[in-house]
């Protein structure tokens, strides 16, 4: 469920990101071209006004009047400059240098020829009218928001549509596991009970080895059943937190795995401190211990060493087996991930351990050296 949400989120992020990028680029291009167009329209007005002033200057040049009234523009300020670009006259409070850029102002420099009143250049400036540009920005922003909302909704439904087959497969797999585990429970229990009865009454002394193998296989099956049930019921499962004697429980589980360890001729060392009490659910504790010990047996070398230690601070299981590659250490706790496929399994053991560790806020540490062995340590307190 979590990975499904993560996939959907990733898809949405990529989809929305690329859509946003595309729309931003398109909007920017549109804005730039429209801005140019709007400014060009304002420049056209300047050009027209400039022609009017030029015509007035010509008339003024021919005038014999003692006082010459400079033509004033209604839309902005103007000034005339001589051929050496020296200011002659104008309407500016502070005459600007010809060609100097002014902020928020649209300027037009026109050449005048012949030089009426000595004017070779006419400068006409007017403040830029930002009203249409602001309206354009508002429209683009509104469009972006609208498009963003639309594509977010579309992306969400598309994502759901793409994930639907995956979700269906997972659902089917879960149903299958649920049904299978349910169907496996009865025969496994029957086999194990009957083996115990045979061992108790000792009626099959000559087939003792075969019987042991059947017992190991049955116990393995039983443990897989327990793991799968734990995974399936994990969310609905009601935990009963009790004061649990961890030392006693570890001793019990060691006895349970004794037959498996014996077949591999493992040298078992235990250092279990008695009286270590934890407040946790018994089934959680069993899943934690079982998975670590069974992994240590499974991935150990024949006649290898299995070291189990319990202290007030931590529980540690160490094997002398194949070890795990450095790059696999990061993913080994993910469900269905297996570092070594030489042995049977589904790759759910460490996922269950990780779930239990997270539920109780323990700390899980895995250190491993290839061909040397692996050490898994669970610290009770941070």
């Amino acid at each position: 469920m979590q990975s499904e949400r993560r996939s959907l989120l990733r898809f949405l992020l990529i989809y929305m990101g690329s859509t946003f990028l595309l729309f931003s680029m398109a909007s920017w291009l549109f804005y730039t071209s429209t801005r140019h167009h709007l400014l060009d329209k304002q420049r056209e007005v300047l050009k027209y006004e400039s022609q009017k002033i030029e015509s007035a200057l010509r008339e003024l040049h021919q005038s014999n009047s003692a006082i010459l009234h400079y033509p004033v523009s209604k839309i902005g300020n103007s000034a005339i400059y001589d051929l050496d670009k020296h200011y002659i006259f104008g309407t500016f409070a502070h005459p600007p240098q010809l060609g100097a850029r002014q902020k928020h102002t649209l300027s037009l420099i026109s050449k005048i020829e012949p030089y009426y009143l000595g004017a070779a250049y006419l400068l006409l400036s007017k403040p830029i009218d930002y009203t249409p540009l602001l309206a354009l920005q508002r429209n683009i922003l509104f469009f972006m928001l609208l498009a963003g909302g639309f594509f977010a909704v579309l992306g969400y439904f598309l994502g759901k549509l793409f994930i639907a087959p995956m979700r269906e497969s997972i659902k089917q797999m879960n149903h299958f596991i649920q049904d299978t585990t349910h169907e496996l429970n009865t025969p496994i229990s029957t086999i194990l009970t009957n083996i115990e009865m045979i061992e108790t009454f000792g009626e099959c002394e000559q087939n003792k080895d075969e019987l042991k193998r059947i017992e190991i296989a049955s116990r393995t099956l039983s443990r897989i059943y327990d793991d799968l049930t734990y995974l399936n019921l994990n969310h609905q499962y009601h935990r009963r937190i009790i004061r649990l004697d961890m030392a006693q429980l570890i001793e019990e589980r060691m006895v349970y795995f004794a037959v498996m360890a014996e077949v591999k001729h493992l040298r078992i060392k235990t250092d279990v401190k008695s009286g270590v009490i934890l407040e946790m659910d018994r089934n959680d504790a069993i899943r934690l211990i079982d998975n670590l010990i069974s992994n240590a047996i499974k991935y150990n070398k024949p006649e290898g060493e299995l070291y189990v230690r319990l202290t007030e601070e931590y529980f540690m299981v160490k094997d002398g087996g194949f070890g795990i590659k450095k790059e696999d250490l990061k993913i080994i706790m993910h469900r269905f991930k297996r570092a070594n496929t030489s042995e049977g399994g589904f790759g759910i053991g460490l996922d269950i351990v990780n779930q239990v560790v997270n539920s109780y806020s323990f700390v899980l540490q895995i250190t491993s050296q290839l061909h040397q062995g692996t050490e898994v340590k669970i610290q009770w307190k941070k």
């Binding site: 009234h69 051929l83 002659i88 030089y115």
Partner: protein, 119 residues
């Protein structure tokens, strides 16, 4: 007797004021403007033609000086038809310093910059 004295004094004052007021232009006038006036070629019009071609006072000064020193039809600011009616101007024999002074005064007198005002 007193009245005659006052009248004589007032007449003398008027002549003196008039003489002072036209002292400077009188030189420019006798040297340049007088001729233009008699030929009925308005100096202000000539100046505007200079302005229209050369734009800046500095350029006008240079152009006028070189033209007055060696008048040529090609250098004149007047149209070619003008010379059908008027003879070509003679070369100025004035000393350069004085000529430059009169040119400067001429430009100052007819400068349009002083006459431009905002309505």
């Amino acid at each position: 007797m007193e009245k005659i004295m006052i009248l004589l004094w007032l007449s003398a004052m008027c002549i003196a004021v008039e003489g002072n007021a036209y002292a400077e232009p009188k030189n420019l006038y006798t040297a340049c403007l007088k001729c233009h006036q008699s030929e009925q070629v308005p100096s202000s019009l000539v100046y505007r033609r200079y302005l229209m071609r050369y734009s800046t006072p500095e350029r006008i000064k240079k152009a006028m000086f070189s033209y007055l020193k060696a008048p040529e039809k090609a250098d004149s600011i007047m149209p070619s038809q003008f010379f059908l009616k008027f003879p070509m101007k003679k070369k100025m024999q004035m000393n350069d310093m004085l000529l430059k002074k009169y040119i400067r005064e001429y430009i100052e007198q007819f400068d349009v910059k002083k006459r431009l005002v905002l309505p």
